[in-house]
Amino acid sequence: MLTFTLRRLLVAIPTLLFISLVIFLLVDLAPGSPLSDIPLTVPPDVRQRMIEALGADQPVFVRYVLWLRQFFWVEPAYLLDGWFGTNLANGEQRILSWQARSPVFTIIGERIPQTLIVIGTAYLVGVLIALPIGIYSAYRQYSAFDQFGTLFAMIGFSVPTFFSGTLFIIIFAVWLGWFPTKYDTQLEVTDWASFVEQLRQMALPVMTLGLANAAVISRYMRSSMLDNMTQDYVRTARAKGMTERTVVLKHVLRNSMIPVVTVIALGIPSIFGGAIITENLFGVNGIGAALIGAIHASDLPMVQTLAFIFAVLIVTFNLIADILYGLLDPRIRYD
């Protein structure tokens, strides 16, 4: 297992470099311009000068190498300077967003908290709802609970978040007036009142996303449980006179978790990726909103950096999922 992990980590480096190049070329090739938001009243020659000031007219490989250097050398140097008060970076150019002219990592740093809090909570809530529903639905297949669970799941993933989110806003914010519709990113939790306020403003986005997450995971859980319920070892366990509780929760569940763990682990990078539509709808303004805004504005440094961090997370969590496989199912051997 250790050699497997090490080997995978080594392979990850060239893979990630390759992915970063592909992303860079892709984003560069995509039509659009960093100036598409600028009113038509700004004449072409001024636009041209603005493009030059951004450095966007440089050849693509020059920009790629510059980005690599900034990402792997300059930015970590700034990070170390920030921690230890050293001066490694020596005032070198950081990765600047074309749209906002601010360092990309400052923007990401401002946005990570709300993304992790809101999207992470939604994911956790989704998983916590989904697992019991999936397990019990499978255990009592075709019972009223199962039918209801199926219906819930179907609604959860056939209804897009742009629809459910707007519906929740109309019901809970406009009609009932319980929750705010816009997330206040500046709110600091210092006492009980602000904590309640934080919970209130998280309610709608968490509900919207949690529903969608729970729907998907509960289906995988149920299907996986069903597969295992009919296996021979379950019959054996029952024949041995084990309690139903032990059979289901210990034997079946552990084996059923294998594919579900993949689904859950693979979903975690998407927490960092944010949720584009939900973030936008509720003004959470996290990473997802930043990415989509940057894509629309062809803000190449921002898109590239975010997409690359995302790629790192995906590769990492795939590795974690694979290691978890091995732990959950001793029969699986990688070496």
Binding site: A30, R219, S224, I258, F310
Partner: protein, 307 residues
């Protein structure tokens, strides 16, 4: 499975491959029958419906007088903000959405299963294939689609015409950007199945890998694939609406369910039926596909069929 001869049913020692038995089991699954009925109804409605319901074309001046009407005898599903008959639009939209949903799902599932099985079964392919999967997962979807549209739309359109060209491009785009989940899951299952006793037994008596995969592995990954397929249909229909929203989908006068849902959104408070119809159609499609999937899985599993 087509050789469902009477002999097959009278010889109980040869149950596998019996089409009739599968159908029997499938029929006993109430949900599956319901799903099949609903799906058949939807497909018939979008295929035959437009021939049965042909209201006369209103001029713009006439249509302006019947904007945002609630359902009535003249307009069974009401009208939209331009006075267009929603029933007509729902039927047109359904044809496109159902076709996109199923074709894209089939592409995604086929590619996903193929890659998943290959990666899970052949250790040598595991690394490269999974790194490729990682890459596809990491690529930002919207620039990818923008680039695809920019490079291929006009070329495909010049060969196939704008509408069929758009269809091909969309189905292909959705298909190749949504197979990764299925591939990861199938691979996981295969990794575990590969070590099961019966696979080891088959391998030790020298059965060819192709045969092991087809006979022993594939039938056992059917259920996660079914879940992925169910999710895939819904996702494809919704992704199509996102594509149209970005101007990458069909021409704007081509309604699809996802797009009707999206357009109806800003009228949701005033005219809720505008989002209810397309929403209902998408949910019903997904629900019926899911139940059919459930029924099929039970029907294909000899252990359950015996019960």
């Amino acid at each position: 499975m087509t050789d469902a001869t009477p002999q097959a049913t009278v010889k109980p020692e040869k149950p596998a491959g019996s089409g009739r038995a599968i159908w029997q089991q499938f029929r006993s699954h109430k949900g599956a029958v319901f799903g099949l009925a609903v799906l058949t109804f939807l497909v018939l409605a979008v295929l035959i419906g437009p021939y049965l319901w042909q209201p006369e074309k209103l001029s713009v001046a006439q249509a302006m007088k019947v904007r945002n009407q609630p359902p009535s005898w003249q307009f069974p599903l009401g009208t939209d903000q331009l006075g267009r008959d929603m029933l007509v639009r729902m039927m047109q939209a359904g044809k496109v959405s159902l076709a996109v949903g199923f074709v894209a799902m089939i592409i995604a599932i086929t590619v996903g299963t193929l890659i998943g099985v290959l990666a899970g079964y052949f250790r040598r392919l595991d690394g490269p294939l999974m790194r490729m999967t990682d890459m596809f997962l990491a690529l930002p979807l919207i620039p990818l689609l923008l680039v695809m549209v920019m490079l291929f739309r006009d070329r495909i359109a010049s060969v196939m015409g704008p509408e069929l060209g758009a269809f091909t491009l969309i189905v292909f785009a959705i298909g190749i950007t949504s197979w990764m989940q299925a591939a990861r899951i199938v691979r996981g299952e295969v990794l575990a199945l590969k070590e099961r006793e019966y696979v080891l037994a088959a391998r030790s008596i020298g059965v060819a890998p192709r045969r092991i995969i087809l006979r022993h592995i594939l039938p056992n990954v059917v259920s996660p694939v079914m879940v992925a397929a169910t999710l895939g249909v819904a996702e494809a229909i919704i992704t199509e609406s996102v594509l149209s929203f970005l101007g990458l989908g069909f021409p704007p006068d081509f309604p699809t369910w996802g797009r009707l849902l999206f357009d109806g959104l800003q009228y949701m408070q005033l005219y809720p039926e505008r989002v209810i119809w397309p929403g209902l159609a998408i949910s019903l499609t997904v629900l019926s596909v899911n139940y059919i999937g459930d029924g099929l899985r039970d029907a294909l599993d000899p252990r359950i069929r015996g019960r």
